[in-house]
């Protein structure tokens, strides 16, 4: 067995086989029991490598998924049957794609399988099927037929669609002659020639032509194409082509052509010019009327922009109107166009927005309105002439006649009678005369006047006439009477004129004059008018009082007569200057102790002699009032300054008072603090007693200060009630009380009896108690103390005084007397709250009075006070 050539060949061929299987570009599997071998192509097909699918069941599971058991069963069945037929199966590749595979197998123990991928082929087949369907469908929809012509045998075949287009069926003989039969007789020869030339020149056959369908005799348009195929010898053998039914398109084209021609004719022949314009003004099209009327050729006009036709003065208007067209779609307006020769043509433009070849354009119809404008102008001129003419004739003339005592009757009447009265000549003739139309209030007078006319007499009358429309007009009538041709016949010839306007003016003038007269009657200003001789013509009523004579004695007189001496002459000189210079003059004059301001000016009216007028204002009161205001202002300023000073003083006092009060409160408190410290450290009982006594004293002091402050403050706020007060009585009472407090002292108290004042009793009690107790206090060291209360007469009423012969004080320090808590004496000499005199001063001042003192050290003191006007300020201005 070893080295047997057959064995070698068998081994070699098996290796070759394996090599072959591995490398062929067809997916192949070898299955032996559960074992599996798959070649490289199979790996590529499924995407699974040999290592991943080592066994056949694994491979089945991978490529068939849940179906793998069924597929195994099916495989075993097929294997048992000897794999009679290839099978199409669907496998799932590693990348998820589904593929259709033809599965062919052979073998029993070892099964050899070929997997043939059909997917791409099936898809191509499907695409071809789809394309064929589409083509058929396209031919049907596009009325497209296909034919093939075999030139050698003179036979053509055609698609069903082509047969349908030509109206033939399979029975129709399909030869060149029969095609010629189908072609419309009108173009049969042409088509034959075209075919022959295409054939000869190897050109495409490409022609639109008409046919007649044999089935129904209907004419149709077709579009035929064809390509010739030639044999090796250059002879044409075959022609393949298409036929398309284009009847509908041809019909549309024909109709369009017809309508375009019609439109063009209408467009060109229209009597109005028509422009089709781009929205920027460029011309798209114009009709013949347009360019001929403007004097251009069509090409010239089309090269222009509409703006070149608009005269500059219309540019703004046109631009506004075109905006309106764009906004609303249409506008009609008058404008003008400039012809080529520069002349201007007035036009009416009817412009609308139009859809043209998919965009918006202006479609304008332009009407030449030269004639209309000229007619309008003529009409205006004629109306004007008519109006002027008719305004000239404000009269009418008439002739009347009467017989015996009968009424006048109108014989003829002519002129502006209807315009004036509103009645026509016929209407007046029918009424006999116009007397019935005369105003009720004037009718009898007018009638009587006319009837009283004797021959050769004439008359002018003015009366009111009620017009036909009910309005009233004024008529001036002038007529003369003549004897007629008949006996007893009187004729009346007259003219009548509408004088309503004059009457209205007269009436207005009267009204103005009435108003003016009223003004002159009541004017507080002197008003005067003088004529050219400088005599008064009209003066206001108030001159009567000034000159002491009535108005009618002033009018007509010269200034020299009206005003005395130099003053009269001065006025005349001024007047002459005004008249001479012709300019107004303003001057201040003194007359009768009063001051006047006068403005005089010339008046010149056409047709009147020169005159002048003027007004005069009495400034005396004004000047006095101004002076009074100045005086009053000065007084007020002084008053304000006085009060400001008073207020400042009060503020200062208040500040000083606060300072003082704080000091007076602090002092006893500091003392109490000090004594407390001493008390804490002092052991000696006797001294402790003394300190306790000083402590009590200090707190009493504090109490006293608080009470005094409250008193002072109450004094300022308490309401003042002045009554009759017996001051002597109060002093006596207070003296007794003081004496009772200090019974050891011998003080002589002298009280002048019956000193009565109008004052507030409460405040007087406080005031006198303080003064008296001060006097008691400061006489302590006097040898024989004496206190006197009395009164004397001063310049501003009674002066009251309290006099003592005590310690007195240095007048140098008298300013400090009345400030609260100020002392002139050392405390230990004359103890006190230091607020007594401040209180007295406040009480006195509340009454509007004042307090002062006289003293010398060691010679006693006298305190004086008054009780003047209570709380009054001066209100009279000082002279």
């Amino acid at each position: 067995m070893n080295g047997s050539p057959i064995t070698d060949i068998s081994r070699i061929s098996r290796e070759l086989l394996l090599e072959l299987v591995e490398n062929i570009p067809i997916a192949a599997l070898v299955i032996a029991g559960e074992h599996l071998y798959c070649n490289h192509a199979a790996e590529l097909l499924t995407g699974y490598s040999r290592n991943e699918v080592a066994t056949f069941p694994q491979w089945l599971e991978k490529v068939f998924g849940p179906e793998h058991r069924n597929m195994r069963k099916r495989f075993e069945r097929e294997k048992a049957a000897g794999f009679p037929l290839p099978r199409e199966v669907h496998i799932t590749c590693r990348d998820g794609t589904r593929r259709t595979v033809e599965f062919a197998a052979t073998g029993k123990e070892h099964v050899f399988c070929i997997l043939h991928d059909l997917t791409d082929r099936l898809q191509a087949a499907q695409t071809i099927r789809d394309n064929e369907t589409l083509l058929r469908e396209a031919q049907r929809i596009g009325n497209l037929g296909i034919y093939e012509y075999d030139l050698a045998h003179d036979r053509w075949t055609s698609s069903r669609e082509m047969d349908r287009i030509f109206g033939i069926d399979d029975a129709y003989p399909k030869t060149f002659a029969s095609w010629q039969d189908l072609v419309h007789p009108d173009c049969r020869d042409d088509m034959s020639r075209y075919f022959s030339s295409s054939l000869a020149e190897h050109r495409w056959f490409d022609m639109e032509y008409r046919i007649v369908r044999p089935c129904d005799g209907v004419e149709r348009w077709v579009y035929g194409t064809g390509e010739f195929t030639h044999d090796a010898g250059g002879r044409p053998v075959r022609m393949i082509g298409t036929i398309q039914d284009i009847t509908d398109r041809k019909e549309t084209e024909r109709r369009l052509h017809v309508s375009e021609t019609k439109y063009r004719d209408l467009f060109d022949e229209a009597t109005d010019a028509i422009f089709i314009l781009e929205l920027d003004g460029r011309f798209i099209d114009v009709n013949r009327t347009a360019y001929t009327r403007l004097g251009y050729t069509k090409q010239e006009l089309l090269s222009l922009n509409i703006r070149q036709l608009d005269p500059p003065e219309y540019a703004k208007l046109v631009s506004r109107r075109l905006q309106r067209v764009r906004d609303r779609g249409v506008a009609v307006f008058d404008s003008a166009h400039r012809r080529k020769d520069g002349s201007i043509m007035p036009v009416e433009v009817n412009c609308r927005l139009h859809e043209y070849e998919g965009r918006q354009v202006y479609f304008s119809v332009i009407r030449d309105i030269t004639e209309r404008k000229r007619a309008e102008q003529l009409l205006r001129e004629s109306e004007e002439r008519y109006r002027r003419f008719s305004s000239l004739t404000s009269d009418y003339v008439y002739s009347c006649s009467r017989l015996g005592d009968g009424p006048f009757r109108v014989r003829w009447i002519a002129g502006a009678v209807e315009r004036i009265t509103g009645y026509s000549q016929d209407e007046i003739m029918a009424r006999g005369c116009w007397l019935p139309f005369v105003h009720r209030d004037d009718r009898k007078r007018v009638g009587d006047n006319l009837l009283s006319l004797a021959p050769e007499e004439s008359l002018i009358d003015e009366f009111r006439l009620v017009r036909k429309d009910g309005s009233v007009c004024w008529i001036q009538e002038a007529c003369s009477c003549e004897r007629g041709s008949l006996p007893e016949e009187l004729l009346l010839y007259g003219t009548a004129r509408d004088i309503t306007k004059r009457k209205v003016v007269e009436e207005e003038l009267r009204e103005v004059d009435t108003i003016f007269s009223m003004f002159l009657e009541h004017s507080p200003i002197y008003v005067f008018f003088k004529d050219e001789h400088l005599r008064a013509t009209r003066v206001s009523r108030n001159f009567e009082a000034l000159l002491g004579r009535p108005v009618n004695e002033i009018v007509g007189r010269s200034m020299g007569e009206l005003f005395p001496g130099d003053f009269g002459r001065k006025i005349e000189a001024d007047d002459r200057k005004v008249m001479g210079d012709g300019v107004a003059m303003e001057l201040e004059e003194q007359f009768d102790g009063r001051t006047f301001k006068t403005i005089k000016f010339p008046i010149s009216l056409a047709g009147h002699p020169p005159m002048m007028a003027g007004i005069t204002i009495d400034l005396t009161d004004l000047k006095e009032a101004q002076q009074a205001v100045v005086v009053l202002n000065e007084h007020l300023e002084r008053l304000v300054s006085e009060r400001t000073t008073a207020l400042e003083k009060t503020n200062e006092e208040l500040a000083s008072f606060c300072y003082t009060v704080s000091h007076e409160l602090r002092a006893p408190i500091a003392r109490i603090q000090g004594f407390c410290t001493v008390l804490a450290e002092e052991g000696d009982e006797r001294r402790r007693g003394f300190i306790r006594e000083r402590l009590t004293h200090a707190s009493r002091q504090l109490q006293g200060v608080v009470d005094a402050i409250l008193m002072l403050s109450r004094l300022s706020r308490v309401e003042l009630v002045p009554v009759r007060v017996d001051l002597s009585e109060i002093v006596r009472r207070k003296g007794r009380a003081l004496q009772a407090e200090q019974p050891e002292r011998q003080v002589e108290l002298v009280v002048h009896p019956g000193i009565i004042a109008s004052a507030d009793p409460g405040l007087m009690e406080i005031c006198l108690e303080n003064l008296l107790s001060n006097a008691y206090k400061f006489t302590t060291q006097a040898e024989s103390p004496r206190i006197e209360f009395g009164s004397s007469r001063g310049p501003d009423g009674p002066v009251y005084y309290v006099r003592d012969n005590g310690a007195g004080f240095d007048m140098t320090y008298s300013d400090m007397l009345y400030a609260p808590f100020q002392r002139l004496h050392q405390h230990r000499e004359f103890p006190g709250s230091g607020i007594g005199l401040a209180t007295v001063k406040r009480a006195v001042e509340r009454h509007g009075g004042r307090i002062w003192a006289e003293s010398k050290v060691g010679e006693g003191a006298t305190f004086y006070f008054t009780l003047g006007g209570i709380g009054s300020w001066p209100i009279q201005p000082k002279a």
């Binding site: 500091a670 003392r671 000090g674 000083r694």
Partner: protein, 133 residues
């Protein structure tokens, strides 16, 4: 060493008592009391008397008030450099500023406290020693 000379200018007897009591506690103090501004100025001018080492001055005084007294002290050549301690019930800022402008040792509120007084005496003594040196 001579005793420390103090001139107390005070019109109220209780305040005088308290100030004197506090001064006495400080030991060897030779004390004079003026009871109004005029008396104080007279005492300072009298040629026979040596000037005090310290003036304790109340501001509210009869006849001539404290600020005026201070002004005149500073005016006078002989008293220009005299140490003055203002002792008052007032705490008016205006007064305080005026006094400071004239030059004072301190502006104290009543009652006089011992430590305030001691500080003033120390300050005066140091000044004096400086001058001696």
């Amino acid at each position: 060493m001579n005793s420390f000379r103090v001139l107390l200018v005070e019109d109220n007897p209780d305040d005088e008592f308290l100030a004197v009591w506090t001064l006495k506690k400080e030991g060897d103090v030779s004390l004079k009391v003026a009871r109004d501004g005029r008396e104080a100025l007279d005492l300072l001018r009298s040629s026979g008397e040596p000037l005090p080492d310290l003036v304790i001055l109340d501001l509210r005084l009869p006849k001539i008030d404290g600020i005026e007294v201070l002004r005149r002290i500073r005016e006078e050549e002989t008293t220009r450099r005299l140490p003055v301690l203002v002792l008052t019930s007032s705490e008016d800022r205006g007064d305080k500023e005026i006094c400071r402008d004239y030059g004072i040792l301190a502006f104290l509120s009543k009652p006089l406290r011992r430590d305030d007084l001691r500080r003033a005496i120390t300050a005066v003594s140091n000044e004096t020693r400086d001058e001696v040196c």
